[in-house]
Amino acid sequence: MKTLSRLPISLRWMAGVAAGLCAAPLLAQTPASAPSPASAPSAPMTTGPADAGKMTIEVQRSRTEQARNQASSCAVCHGPDGKPPADSQVPRLAGRPQAELVELMLNFKNGKRPGTVMPQIAKGYSDTEIIAISAWFADQK
């Protein structure tokens, strides 16, 4: 979680909310005055920091499942649950820190990190989606 502090504060707030069930430690360090993030078109993000605690289990479940569904798309190259076969040339995603994955994807998206397919793919995902998908992979052991 240390590297998360290098992210802009609005992203840190989004990281906490989008991570859903596994976000408790992040939410704890979220300042109450965090600015409202731009809402992504696909994520059912309707709560602000004040009522983040009132998130129902049902909403959390649907967010986690949506992150799971979106993360499953990555499996075609990165393996099921982000675990590629042992000798793969493609990196493992499962169990890596959320902040590390978020930073990688944002750098691909913003052109700060070169690559073959990843810069092109990263541009198709909102920051909120990147944060939620990264949280899901971080949770896979």
């Binding site: 696909s42 798309s73 190259c77 493609v90 990263a122 198709g124």
Partner: protein, 422 residues
């Protein structure tokens, strides 16, 4: 889905007064039948079991004991890989994921009774049906292929015995001979695949029979995928070896003389002819009345992959009437399988499916035995258009072929096979 969720779903359905006879048997697990164990069907079967934590009963109807991959099969045609390298048994799907594998062929679907009839005589009931029938090769559309000797002319566009036949025909061809591949009008399975095959056949010929030629007769007005990249490779690495002729629609082939007839141009006599016939959704989907787009492809609701005419039948992969810029690819069939699996579990639980499917297509083509190029795209559900649209500014192509992307192409294959069959 946990048993608790099943009960909850049953209770919810009771409260709504919409309880069917089948749902009333609350303790009985829902039955999903999957027809076809390719990139779409195997993925759906695996994810229905994984995401329901084993609560849903999944039966895969697939006659073969092992999956044989179309992607990478052009490497086998050119002799750079063996059939064993592209063959993966269905064992793990059964052993690790609890999928029931029925080695039979589905012959008819009774949409009213919700049953599938098998060639062996058995009848399987379903609550939800996943249909991943692949494509039917319309061999009869090319005059002569059904005539005596026509079985010596192979498309090898379904990986399996024909892949090996085409490899042997290429290996037996004389130096100075001509290998011809003919391409139907789009849409067809794997848009860049024919051009990849031209590259790999040329790579083999360059090393072993350097006076030979590859002719590409394309019914389309231009290369349908990765055009600039293929053109670049043909002009450099395979200069003088590959000849591309667009707007050549193949209408007939004489198997005895291997003479190709076109709708407009003069005949061409070659040494090995590899025709890709026009295609449509697999025969069982057409027979069930699901191929509502020109009688060829199945229109679906991309939120659930449910057929537009049979809501409890989910159609996947190449058989689907594609969304704009959505290729008929193995990766796309895999993504369809996951959307269908997630939606089916939601629907069985009485909940709304995920309203915003979002997935990526990544497709590698080999330009030589070791180098590859990619095309990538990100597809997001658009509620207004009710289809999948590519995200503006995302996706793209390789700058040039590279050995690194060749490695990634092989890694893709091993990861996706683990994903669908692991």
């Amino acid at each position: 889905m946990h048993r608790r969720s099943v009960l909850k779903a049953a209770l919810a359905a009771t409260a709504l007064g919409g309880l069917t006879a089948r749902q009333a048997r609350a303790a009985a697990p829902a039955k999903v039948v999957v027809i076809g164990g390719g990139y779409g069907g195997a993925t759906a079967a695996r994810y229905l079991r994984t995401w329901s934590r084993g609560a849903v009963d999944v039966t895969l109807v697939e006659p073969d004991a092992a999956f044989v991959s179309c992607p990478l099969s052009n490497l086998v045609v050119a002799g750079y890989r063996q059939m064993a390298d592209i063959t993966v048994p269905y064992d793990a799907l059964v052993r690790r994921h609890g999928v029931k594998h029925v080695r039979d062929t589905a012959t008819t679907i009774d949409l009213g009774k919700r049953t599938v009839r098998l060639a062996g005589g058995a009848t399987l009931p379903y609550d939800r049906l996943v249909l991943s029938p692949g494509v039917e090769m319309q061999t009869g559309a090319i005059d002569g292929l059904l005539a005596p000797g026509g079985d010596q002319i192979v498309h090898a566009w379904k990986a399996g015995p024909q892949t090996d036949i085409l490899r042997r025909q290429l290996a037996a061809m004389r130096d100075g001979g001509t290998f011809a591949i003919t391409i139907p009008l789009a849409p067809y399975r794997c848009p860049p695949g024919p051009y990849e095959r031209a590259c790999l056949v040329a790579d083999y010929l360059k090393q072993h029979k350097p006076r030979s030629k590859v002719l590409v007769f394309d019914a389309n007005p231009d290369i349908t995928s990765k055009g600039a990249l293929f053109r670049q490779v043909w002009q450099t690495r395979y200069a003088g070896m590959i000849e591309y002729r667009p707007q050549h629609e193949t209408v007939g082939i004489d198997p005895a003389t291997r003479t190709i007839r076109f709708d407009v141009q003069d005949d061409e006599r070659v040494d090995v002819v590899n025709p890709l016939p026009p295609q449509r959704a697999g025969a069982i989907a057409v027979a069930a009345g699901l191929a509502t787009a020109n009688g060829r492809w199945c229109e679906v609701d991309f939120l659930t992959m449910a057929s537009r005419v049979a809501p409890d039948v989910h159609v996947l992969g190449d058989a689907v009437q594609i969304a704009p810029l959505m290729p008929k690819s193995g990766t796309m069939a895999n993504q369809h399988g996951k959307v269908a699996a997630a939606a089916i579990l939601q629907l069985l639980a009485g909940r709304a499916p995920d309203p915003s499917p979002l997935y990526t297509n990544t497709c590698y083509s080999f330009t030589s035995s070791t180098e590859a190029v990619h095309i990538a795209s990100v597809h997001r559900y658009d509620p207004a258009e009710r289809t999948m649209l590519t995200v503006p500014g995302s996706g793209g192509l390789s700058e040039a072929p590279s050995a690194l992307e060749g490695q990634y192409g092989l890694a893709w294959a091993h990861s996706i096979w683990a994903d669908m069959l692991g």
